[in-house]
């Protein structure tokens, strides 16, 4: 006879895109679940729930993480950045503009994850080589395999940041 695990909850302060949220979280909830279901930030996608595909990538204290594989409790007091914090469709940032110009996506489901991984890369390395781009984005799967255009997009973004 199966039973629901005893749930334990705690109140945490989650800073997302610069705004503090006081949230009561169940100890089992992942960061992805809190972002999507509690805060309504659905840019991070649920692609595999086990850190294999990268569709849920967000930045925690500047580092890209799979938000499906991190508990919300681990993130209390830390800085979370999601794709929603970068710009909207009418005011794309430099990286997003580059993805638009170079056609760096197809169905778009993996796109927010790629954007966040690339954001982390370009913030730590303004002039990455192609190998560095590949190494930084290898945890993100695009099943449409728009990889050629994604690599070009990141290169173009680095170039336009530099100019």
């Amino acid at each position: 006879m199966a039973q629901l695990p005893i749930s334990y909850s705690a109140s945490i302060t989650l800073n997302v895109n610069g705004t503090d949220h006081q949230i009561e979280v169940d100890h089992r909830w992942t960061l992805l679940r809190v972002l999507r279901d509690v805060l309504g930030l659905t840019g991070a996608k649920r692609g595999c729930d086990r850190g294999e595909c990268g569709a849920c990538t967000v930045l925690v204290d500047g580092d890209p993480v799979c938000s499906c594989s991190m508990l919300a409790l681990q993130v209390g007091g830390r800085q979370v950045r999601t794709v929603e914090g970068l710009g909207d469709a009418n005011s794309l940032n430099v990286l997003q503009e580059a993805f638009l110009a170079e056609d760096g996506g197809q169905c778009g489901f993996c796109t927010p994850g790629f954007i966040m991984s690339a954001t982390a890369l370009l913030e730590s390395n303004t002039d990455p080589t192609e190998d560095e781009i590949k190494a930084a984005l290898v945890g993100n799967i695009c099943r449409c395999n728009a990889y050629g255009r994604i690599i070009e997009s990141v290169k173009a973004a680095a170039k336009s940041e530099a100019s």
């Binding site: 930030l41 996608k45 996506g105 590949k134 290898v138 449409c144």
Partner: protein, 753 residues
């Protein structure tokens, strides 16, 4: 030289900005007030009769709002061989029951409280085994679909083989592999009285509306299907069971329900590319002339028919059409097994059939001492089509590909593809070999043909709206291929306005007119033709309305970005807003059953690969890849290049690493994850060049032909042939994993000693 305003220009992808910012909504992102979460209980057995299901404990769990089992589900069919829920489970992962609860954890807990009594039945997991006479029977009618193979004949292969100097025969196999679109399937259903609204991952809202109507016995007009952004599918998401179960749960609970499949469910219960075993027999003269082709494919459709009948037909396409030959035959055996179902995965059976055909072509050219490229140049089918007589009545649209000869192609750039592709890879030059003795390089090629064109009846509506804006409405879905961008390009070009001026509404069964599935690489052709015609009509209507306003004849007027102006006196003009203000909204609709009575409409291409094989580890690295395509006029080059590159890279997975593994002892899928069903990443993406033949098709809209699926066809043969060129080892079974390459090196060296 025709000059265009927007056709042929790399207009930015219309839906990309909101995908880049996370604003784009996919089905799983839909949130409704009071929405419940559904979960599906799946069969642990590959074949079993369900004797009873006890759901009392699940139902009594607080927060559980609805349960459905085969014993109380509505009796409708979601497919000819599949009810909404069935008392017989046919593979490990088959849907058995479902619950809806306040949240996902509760729904999951409720599943574990359901008690099912199964009577296990004999099962079979291998298609070749399944068609043997004493095989366990998956269904009362037997395992072989239809009880006999699909046989397609032109001329007589007996005669063709009699003319041959030499006859070659080889057998190749390809495994099932998963499309594994990054978006797991999801559906949301909500009832308002007798009216049902469904949001789902789909590539055809009208097809879904019809299928749900039949399954649930609800009038079509009471069902609205709204496509959201589609996290791709490559053809593998066409099914109705998920939507139907969600709708039944929502009706019982009296609240909206969402079901999101997990990644594991997507692998275990998704629709995969059909596994195949193909034997090709070819007769040739000593000078290389092909005299006969006979291909036989055994294809595993899995537990359900799904799109199997279409896929088995396409697996024979290369054998029947690629080489100029009067005597050809194809026998396709489509077989049920107790494994997950196949689906319409990108290019259907064409990649499987071409892998066998184009590998054998290399074996033959080598045996005859003819260069692989020369063999293709000598024998490829030309513009005139196949020899023989036309059997199809001349007044019939050649919708399905005819088997007979005597029908020309509308256009055929295959020869140009062979030429430009071979030049780009320096075909005559052997690969430069690295110093290190265990690394060997080689080049290989494969050519292909694909029917893609006409497609089903399509309706496009175009409007001058009351505020003066121009809008295209069609039920089409953009599944990542770019029709949301290409359709307004077509409309804008025909109207004579800028690309950005044409707004688009897609994919809603209530507000947009019927379009066929975004399938079979037909969207540009079918809905594009309807769109072009609707734009032509709207233009004529607008000019007709404006003529009296400007006190002139329609023939003196033209459309510009701003509105309508007099050709000789451009100062006499009215804006679109003014037209709308004085004439009101103008709407036209064009219904098209596209196609040709005079031509076969096919796309063509040739792929060339250079690989490096590590003979110590068996690792294959693709160094260079050239993809040359005839898809008619390219309407948007950047999107087209992305489509081709993506198709090639996706199928490098099929060629080198991907394979669904089923345990033959218990039918269990062994590798339901991205770690074990290994997808290419950008580390694997080779240096690639995409080339397009300079072809303008006389039938397609603005000269375009099919592009979506063809890139996936040439990959496996080009890579396998390059491996042979590198190390002299012919591998006939995909995927070409390191262990398989090593084993084959050892085995084939052993053979030759």
């Amino acid at each position: 030289m025709t000059t265009f305003k927007t056709i042929g220009k790399s207009e930015p992808r219309r839906d990309l900005p909101e995908k880049l910012t996370g604003e784009a909504k996919y089905t799983a992102d839909v949130q409704l007030p009071g929405m419940l979460f559904g979960k599906i209980l799946r069969s642990p057995h590959p074949h079993a009769r369900i004797l009873s299901i006890n759901v009392d404990a699940a139902r009594n769990l607080p927060g559980v709002r609805a349960v459905v089992t085969p014993f109380d589900a509505p009796k409708g069919q979601v497919a000819p061989d599949m009810p909404i829920l069935d008392t017989e489970a046919r593979y490990v992962g088959d849907e058995v029951a479902a619950v809806a609860a306040d949240d996902e954890d509760l729904a999951e807990a409720a599943l574990s409280l359901i008690e099912v009594k199964y009577e296990q039945l004999p099962f079979v997991t291998d298609a070749v085994e399944a068609i043997k006479p004493d095989a366990p029977q998956t269904r009362p009618g037997g395992n072989l679909v239809g009880g006999k193979p699909l046989t397609l004949i032109r001329g007589s292969v007996e005669e063709g083989f009699a003319q041959a100097d030499r006859i070659f025969e080889e057998t190749y196999s390809t495994p099932a592999h998963a499309g594994a679109a990054l978006e797991p399937r999801a559906a949301v259903a909500s009832w308002d009285g007798d009216n049902l609204t469904v949001w789902k991952s789909t590539r055809g809202v009208h097809a879904d509306q019809l299928a749900l109507s039949l399954a649930l016995d609800v009038p079509r007009g009471n069902i609205r299907v709204m496509g959201q952004n589609m996290g791709a599918g490559y053809g593998t998401k066409d099914e109705t069971r998920l939507g139907a179960i969600t709708a039944v749960l929502a009706q019982r609970a009296g609240r909206p329900v969402k079901i999101e499949l997990t990644r594991q469910e997507e692998f275990v219960a998704g629709r995969h590319r059909h596994g195949t075993t193909t034997t090709v027999r070819m007769g040739v003269k000593n000078d290389g002339t092909v005299t006969a082709v006979h291909a036989t494919t055994i294809m595993d459709t899995g537990a359900y028919l799904s799109s199997g009948p279409g896929v088995i037909r396409r697996a024979g396409q290369g054998a029947l059409y690629l080489y100029r030959c009067a005597n050809v035959q194809y026998d396709g055996y489509l077989t049920y097994t107790n494994t997950p179902s196949g689906g319409s995965y990108r290019a259907l059976g064409a990649p499987q059939g071409h892998f066998a055909l184009e590998s054998l072509a290399d074996t033959i050219s080598e045996a005859l001492g003819i260069d692989s490229l020369e063999f293709r140049l000598k024998n490829h089918v030309g513009l005139e089509g196949q020899p023989g007589e036309r059997v199809t009545p001349a007044n019939e649209v050649l919708d399905t590909q005819p088997v007979e000869g005597g029908v020309p192609f509308s256009s055929n750039g295959l020869r140009e593809c062979l030429q430009i592709g071979s030049e780009a890879i320096d075909w005559g030059q052997p690969s430069e070999q690295p110093e290190s003795g265990n690394l060997r390089r080689g080049k290989g090629m494969g050519m292909f043909i694909y029917r893609g064109g006409a497609g089903g009846r399509s309706i496009a509506r175009m409007r001058l709206e009351s505020d003066g804006s121009l809008r295209l409405l069609t039920g089409l879905m953009d599944v990542g291929e770019g029709s949301l961008t290409v359709m307004p390009q077509i409309a804008a070009e025909e109207l004579g306005v800028g690309y950005d001026q044409v707004l688009v509404t897609f994919g809603d069964s209530e507000t947009t007119p019927e379009a066929p599935l975004t399938a079979g690489s037909t969207a540009t052709f079918s809905t594009g033709t309807a769109t072009k015609e609707a734009a032509r009509q709207l233009k004529a209507r607008i000019i007709e309305v404006v003529a009296p306003l400007l006190d002139t004849e329609p023939s003196n007027l033209q459309i510009t970005d701003d509105g309508v102006e007099h050709i000789q006196y451009p100062e006499r003009s009215v804006s679109f807003a003014q037209i709308a203000e004085s004439a009101g909204e103008i709407e036209v609709e064009a219904a098209i059953s596209p196609g040709s009575r005079d031509h076969v409409i096919n796309s063509f291409g040739a792929h060339f690969a250079e690989v490096e094989v590590d003979t110590d580890t068996g690792q294959v690295r693709v160094l260079r890849y050239i993809a040359a395509h005839d898809s008619g006029r390219i309407l948007n080059p950047k999107l087209a290049i992305n489509q081709v590159e993506g198709g090639v890279s996706q199928m490098l997975g099929f060629t080198l690493s991907e394979q669904m593994l089923t345990d033959p002892r218990n039918g269990v899928t062994l590798n339901a994850s991205f770690l074990e069903h290994k997808s290419p990443t950008l580390q694997d993406f080779p240096k690639m060049q995409v080339l397009f033949a300079d072809v303008v098709d006389p039938v397609g809209p603005f000269g375009a032909k099919a592009l979506g699926e063809p890139p996936s066809i040439g990959v496996a043969p080009a890579v396998a042939n390059a491996i042979y060129n590198a190390i002299g080892v012919r591998i006939r079974d995909l995927p070409l994993t390191p262990d398989r390459v090593l084993n084959e090196i050892e085995a084939q060296r052993g053979d030759s000693q």
